[in-house]
Amino acid sequence: MSFMTTLSDPPSGSFRLSMLINDTRYRSYTFQFIALVIVIAIFGYLGSNLFANLRAAGLNISFDFLGESSNYDINQTLIEYSSRSTHWTAAVVGILNTLLVAFLACITATIIGVIAGILRLSPNWLVRKLMSIYVEAFRNVPVLIWIIIIFTIMTVVLPAPNAFRGDNATASMLFGAFAFTNRGVYLPAPVWGPGSLIVALVFVASVIGVFMYRRYAKKLLFDTGRLLPMGWPSLVILFVPTLLVFFLLGRPIGLDYPELKGFNFQGGIQILGSLIALWWALAIYTGAFIAENVRAGIQSVSKGQAEAAASLGMRPNRIMNLVVLPQALRVIIPPLISNYLNITKNSSLAIVVGYMDIAGTLGGITLNQTGRAIECVLLLMAFYLAISLTISGLMNVYNKAISLKER
């Protein structure tokens, strides 16, 4: 017995230098030290090269250029901007444009993806096949090619504004309100009259009301088993009060229709062709990925769940809403969020179609004008990194909240 103990005891005696290599307890320190030294050496080497190169070129690292006047125009600005604004303002304009196109594309991609994903499981053979053709065709071709294809449709196929002019016009406006031209799409713009704020507030209140009604109905269902109708009351709550207030106040919100004046359309909202190309290419491309996630999510819920619900006497849409979807969402949401991240990162391809997002302003014209490549690329990376880390942080919180609570 005593022989055994002597064998399994750790070797006694003081620390010797050879233990750094031979003893597993200390070897990890050696490895970590070597790794740290290598990383520091690489960074030191790169850093010293950087300073040597900068000194040789008479440059320095400085972010002062952000305060200088930018001297270039941007075709789509969500905030006040002119060519006399600073490079910093140009970067902010770019950030807002990135967020705008990413937001639009995320929403559209989700709608397309959910519809296509559900239709891929449809009992209808033809629809199922068409949807799998859509998914395979769009997933397997680079998004860059889709962006260029849609941009070409927007700029080459659509008519020029002057095709809308005269008695023998070759193009006409849709419903007299929408004009699809090679300079972009023109839509009616809302004109906010006095009292429009009240209408808007009532609408917001109705949206909240719909949510509260649905919550109440669900609680009633779970507590007492009584079923309230969901569909038409939601619609009534959503639209009736708003329309009522709108007409009572004497129609305070008007529409400003785009009109052909001179060589171009005036008034209304102009949506640039480059924005539409980027938006829809990202949406359709990512929609194909989301469709696969949705399909996988729904298929991950075991058949027994739906059958159990059916044997309890639930109707098909209730089985979907109350039994299958809540469980499928747990599988669908994490990849969905990473698809949103991909959309945001892929929106940097805007540079190909001339949409002025952050990669086009800060990483494009500002970089070329000032020659401050290191600073610009650094800021560009910091921006995308910040967005990615924020979204993935939120995703982790969400994942913890909805993950299956097991014993």
């Binding site: 900068l54 449809s122 680079p142 990483g363 490549a373 690329v377 880390l389």
Partner: protein
């Protein structure tokens, strides 16, 4: 009891009726259509809507393809031949196929070299992809393939790939000599030996020794460039990805954090910013006076990018293994390297294959992004030299459709292969 029973069931038939045909509505095409196309009113409408959409798609595309002109020197003559009919000018493909595939600078008399390298690629990857069908001996050719392909595509002296190969062999010999003592000694010793060998051979003048026509990297272009970047970066990024994944799972905090920082940084930024780094920033970080090839800088950046993503996929595979596997390795008395090599990684990599294939397909599609930093890959060739030329200014759909088709064929093929492989590797009973 049984007697009375027998008498009372006199009405039971004693002969079988012959089977009759199922009712007309319950068999064959009609049954199939009722079940799959018109099972309900809503489904009927969906079917009709889908048929209408299909009709418009086909009626739009068919004349364009059928009337297509395959032989014309420019878009004007192509339109003259078409004479107002709807049709594609596919002549641009027959006239510029060499530029689309090889770029506009690659010497046209040696197109056979990259083409041969492309064909040999299939021979080289066949034993890896279909390990049960092809004999193991071809794997030797797979190991030699990178050097053969380099020699074929870039040309120059044959001594360069031979020295590179010899360096690897020297490294391997040193590794197998020391690996019995400890994996770390063998691994680092092997690397050191290979580097020393390359350093020594760097002094030997190889210019023009047994040389074929050399092609500089900046002359690469077209779909060849996409294939080149895709295959090189994917194959380089898998070992780096494995190392990063193991580092991220490691117990050593410093190594773990280095790996986490690297992976999260790379995954947080778009590839295009890394390409900007390759094209405008990386030169600042290299020793003054070095003139690093753009294609090499891009390969470095894309490999870093891909290895971060592959590391996450492999980490998923490592995490999916039950803890018992790690403990089993420990209880057999294996050290870390043995445990990983013999027990953990074979299983983890098998789980990760679909993910690795997904990353590879995504990466191959992302190689088109190099056109943004003015490299002339397939998309760059289309947007640049071909659409800007006077002959073919305005032939959009034929060119973009061709590019889309090429990528579709490759990516769809890879993803179908991965699904097949998943079924092959399924060793559990389902």
């Amino acid at each position: 009891m049984s007697d009375t029973h027998q008498q009372s069931i006199g009405y039971v038939r004693d002969s079988m009726i012959p089977e009759s045909e199922p009712p007309l509505g319950e068999a064959g095409a009609i049954k199939w259509m009722r079940a799959n196309l018109f099972s309900s009113i809503a489904n009927g409408f969906l079917t009709l809507a889908a048929l209408t959409a299909l009709y418009f798609l086909i009626s739009g595309f068919l004349p364009w393809i059928v009337n297509g002109v395959w032989d014309a020197p420019s878009i004007r003559e192509c339109r003259e031949i078409l004479d107002g009919k709807v049709g594609g000018c596919f002549a641009v493909l027959t006239e510029r196929w060499n530029q689309l595939l090889f770029g506009f600078k690659y010497p046209s008399d040696i197109y056979w070299r990259p083409a041969l390298a492309f064909l040999l690629l299939f021979v080289a990857i066949a034993p890896v992809l279909f390990s049960k069908v092809f004999p193991k001996q071809i794997l030797i050719f797979t190991a030699l393939y990178p050097f053969i392909a380099y020699f074929l595509i870039w040309g120059g002296s044959i001594l360069i790939p031979i020295f590179a190969l010899l360096g690897l062999i020297v490294g391997y010999l040193v590794y197998s000599r020391f690996v019995a003592q400890s994996f770390a000694a063998g691994f680092f010793g092997g690397i050191a030996a290979a580097l020393a060998f390359w350093w020594i051979t760097g002094f030997i003048a190889v210019d023009g020794v047994l040389a074929i026509e050399a092609v500089p990297s900046r002359d690469m272009g077209g779909f060849m460039l996409n294939m080149l970047l895709g295959t090189v970066c994917v194959s380089l990024s898998i070992p780096f990805g494995i190392a990063l994944a193991l580092g991220r799972q490691s117990d050593m905090p410093i190594i773990k954090w280095i790996c986490i920082l690297f992976i999260e940084f790379i995954r947080g930024v778009p590839l295009i910013t890394l390409l900007f780094v390759a094209s405008v920033v990386l030169a600042y970080f290299l020793p003054p006076g070095t003139n690093f090839d753009l294609i090499l800088r891009v390969i470095i950046m894309i490999t870093m990018f891909a290895s971060a993503y592959i590391a996450e996929v492999i980490r998923g595979g490592l995490a999916a293994l039950p803890n018992g596997q790690y403990e089993a390795g420990d209880s057999l008395g294996l050290d870390y390297a043995q445990k990983m090599r013999l027990i953990i990684l074979p299983q983890a990599l098998k789980i990760s294959i679909p993910g690795i294939v997904n990353v590879s397909v995504g990466l191959f599609k992302d190689t088109t992004l190099v056109s943004v930093i003015s490299m002339f890959d397939l998309v760059g060739m289309i947007r640049g030299p071909i659409l800007a030329s006077t002959e073919w200014n305005g032939v959009y759909w034929e060119l973009l459709g061709f590019a889309a088709l090429l990528f579709f064929v490759v990516c769809y093929g890879i993803s179908q292969y991965s699904q097949w492989l998943e079924r092959q590797l399924q060793t559990d009973h389902k």
